[in-house]
Symmetry: D2
Subunit: 319 residues, 4 copies
């Protein structure tokens, strides 16, 4: 292993730059040449490679987004395209690749590994919906962004005695909603993993009002329903003045938290170690506070699961 490359793929997540930086620095530390591939698989196909030096990754650890940029690239599912990419990589003398992204990106990584280019996946997505890791890069930052917004909403909710519905990201995974709801002190949390019972939500709102609550905040993952739908039903059935906030893409941005920067650094270091041991077709993750590697094949068969205990805790604490 003399020359490796790193790229970011899929939706961007805060902390991706910290991972890119760690790949480059640890690679150089061990005497490797490191290349950056721009715009994910799209740039890989079109040959957008750039030699990375220590200075290429100076002053990026604290920046959101990804300096390598990212793009969706559906054509990379095509085996012919994969084959061409592998040949291009061989021609450029690139011995291994590290892909930072979501599980879609890992399928491409697996394909490249099968074609003789050892490739390691690093889980980076605010949705936290990748199996075989407790946390993905970007999740902690996204949750903190969400609770900052909930703090602000709380100010105005209290002043006006209003109900607020806050829609957060999460199509299939309720992780952001659950963590932001628990940490934000929400009255109810609606997530795709648990069937929504609006009767219960409304009952809790009415109970709260009886006890003199000045406001209520309901956090809903986008995968459940649009915040506007939920808000409309609540307003109709309770008569409460209800407002809706859709946090949207601000959850993807911002300077990464220390948790995400350190997680990114540790996962990236492990990925470089694996490549140097000539291993490929794996993803790295953090499980029970330890950095581990799992076969991508194995990982893709599994499903990310919700922390049920935390969901129950949130219910207890929001009485």
């Amino acid at each position: 292993m003399k020359r490796i490359a790193v790229m970011t793929s899929g939706g961007d997540a805060p902390g991706m730059n910290a991972a890119v930086r760690a790949v480059v620095r640890k690679g150089i530390f061990h005497g490797l040449e490191v290349y950056g591939i721009k715009r994910g698989y799209a740039g890989l196909i079109s040959g957008e490679f750039e030699r990375m030096e220590l200075s290429s990754v100076a002053d990026i650890i604290h920046r959101g987004g990804t300096i390598l940029r990212t793009a969706r690239c559906p054509e990379f599912k095509n085996p012919k395209v994969q084959q061409e990419a592998a040949e291009l990589l061989k021609a450029k003398g690139i011995d291994g690749i590290i892909v930072i992204g979501g599980d879609g990106s890992f399928m491409g990584a697996k394909a490249l590994s099968n074609l003789g280019i050892p490739t390691i996946g690093i889980p980076g997505t605010i949705d936290n919906d990748i199996p075989c890791t407790d946390y993905c890069i970007g999740f902690d930052t996204a949750v903190n962004t969400a609770i900052d917004a909930i703090n602000k909403i709380r100010d105005t909710a209290t002043s006006h005695e209003r109900t607020f519905v806050v829609e957060v990201m999460g199509r299939d995974a309720g992780d952001i909603a659950l963590a932001a709801g628990l940490a934000g002190g929400a009255e109810s949390i609606l997530i795709p993993e648990i069937e929504t019972n609006l009767d219960v939500v409304i009952h809790r709102l009415l109970q709260g009002q009886k006890r003199g609550k000045l406001h209520s905040i309901i956090v809903v993952a986008e995968g459940v329903a649009s915040g506007f739908e939920i808000g409309k039903i609540i307003e109709e059935r309770t008569g409460f003045d209800t407002r809706v906030i859709v946090l949207g893409h601000i959850q993807r941005g911002g300077s990464p938290t220390s948790f995400d920067r350190i997680l990114a650094s540790r996962l990236a270091a492990k990925a470089v170690d694996l490549l140097m041991a000539n291993e490929g077709g794996k993803m790295v993750g953090i499980v029970n506070n330890k950095i581990v590697a799992t076969d991508i094949d194995e990982a893709l068969k599994q499903k990310h699961t919700l922390d049920k205990e935390m969901y129950e805790l949130a219910k207890v604490l929001s009485i």
Copy 2:
């Protein structure tokens, strides 16, 4: 003037607490008794008065929202209701009132003054749409909240090479949009005071792309159109991957900036001075960096005007 009262009315704005605090402390400093009226005119009608001591306003200068809470109260337009309120105030021995809110709130203030209760209005609204003052309490904080969001969006916009439409508050006034757009480095700013020409917006986007711009941000005031409408048209006509963010109520919350806290303190001090001089029916404001008082009658005849020069500057700087 022995006993005064303070209330917040209309939409809440960060910095209202700093104004309440300053009214209470300056009042007590001058030997006045100060009462807080809960929930604006609604609480005035229902007699929700509370004696305020120095400790009532401890540790609130940095909090968003308003500890006095606020509510809309359309019935206060009814002269009979106004009359009853004035009598209630006289019965309670309250000699003067300070109302922190928007221009709707000032009409109520004027009515009370006419009924013999000297009343002073302090402009507090993030929309900054009140005449006879350059700045309203809450505006500076709201703009800073908006540019923080734009910073975050910029991260992800750059990473994905996307166009973002950011809808900010402002039904009739483009102040937030203009300031946030100028300070956020937006490519285009759409405000109610200037007729929107989407041809120009789209031309600029296409020009930017030719020059290699990785992303574009368009700020639109809610009074112009919904961000979603604008986003849809842009995507259709440019083919650019376009996302929409509606900032909504997070603009109302958050710890007030130093600008808003100081403005609130200065305006509140002036309001107390006016009451002590037995003046009523006035609003206080900051004009050319000086704290001034204007007859509410006079003020309500005028219209808040846009800073045209700043709009032109924003256009020049976003080439």
Copy 3:
């Protein structure tokens, strides 16, 4: 177990309020009466008890500090004082206590347990220096506060091509320094657990300069030396324009991160569960992502240990 009490003790830490809230709410959920004890052991001795309702802990999850306040109380080491406190608790019918604080606070907890009042300790200290838990409440927030400061320093360091020494908290434990240094991209990290070799630090600075680095940041835990001493030596031996920042008590404040709020909620829930099972003399902690309980006797024999791997990683990444 019918009536329990909760208190905060020792140095305050962001997230303590989230723990208090969770104790109160989970206690009430299970039908317990919950009391708050003001100002730690000092308030326990002087009988400062207050019945806590759901509304007592409304709107505190996001606030730094502790609504129960805290104080050092050296006299609680006196067995006679402990005995009196236990009797007072029995007289008040308090069946169990939860103490949120550092290891000093846990000794008091152990003493009370031995005297027949089951007591559970929850680790809350930004220093993260308590054994038998990977994280203490407040640590994550303190590290994020430190890296925010480092971000700001980085701006001015780059502009002026300066070296900055940042002193962070940590008398015996280098956890804040290590995490903030790694996440902040510091050039060198000085911690009490590893003997400081300033020759190496200075060599790295000089190497960095040769490679064209515009600035350097050195993070030092207060337990190693004062930042000013380190800064002076560096300036003398390198001739670099060197500035020193002592972050101090701002590390203790601020709205807790989602990590700290969730950790606090989970630890508090476990503590209530333990009391309900009539267990005492234990501390709760998070070890490898699981909430566990350890005998306080056992815990106090152990020593918090540094994550050596993370230290090595920081060195590799700061080449």
Copy 4:
């Protein structure tokens, strides 16, 4: 005027990048060639010029520090050095210069103007100590950084019932201390413009304690005394547990507030207008909310003055 240059000089201030960006963009808008000079007068002497395009200033409006970097350059006081610089500029065909910095930097600007290179000064310094402008670029951001720190300190001060002394920047000018103290709700504010009477400070502390105040915060400008000295005296004379925080260089960093970004943009636009009208030897400023120009000679004769009314207000509000 065909070719102009821009540089930043003296201590850096947040918003300098917004000013650089505005000079470049407005210059290009009007068809000028714009050059950046690196590291202030030091880079001017050594010929560190760089052509600036629109893309050179992309994505900098929100960044602290200055992309042009800055340095102190005492040798530029030497008329011979000034002469050489003017000749270098003429040789490069540079027709006018804009210098962003403090009053020291303006003397150099004046000298260059006298030597036939029209030069305009833009006031950029967090200290806000330049005459003929109400606000300097960076001041608003620095004050907001200071009040964020005071917010955090307030959390821990309340929890521990402590007195905190917060030392902020300001050698000759108390502007940061006054604004941060007023907006931060400090009990006392010590500034160089007003003789410090510690008897009064201590009397207020003792009064506050009698009234049940849980904490006190005293803000002191570095020009008055070190925070440690003040803290020591207070602790000795009151017996209160007193802690000291020196905010230091974090006040210089951070993303500029919207106020600073807009002020920077407006001042820079005016500076370009002046150069295009072939005017030099002037500084631009904001006075009573209007952008104005003043002869540097005239300005340097004047002294920045404190807002006495605001100081009195702070005293009234901190009873």
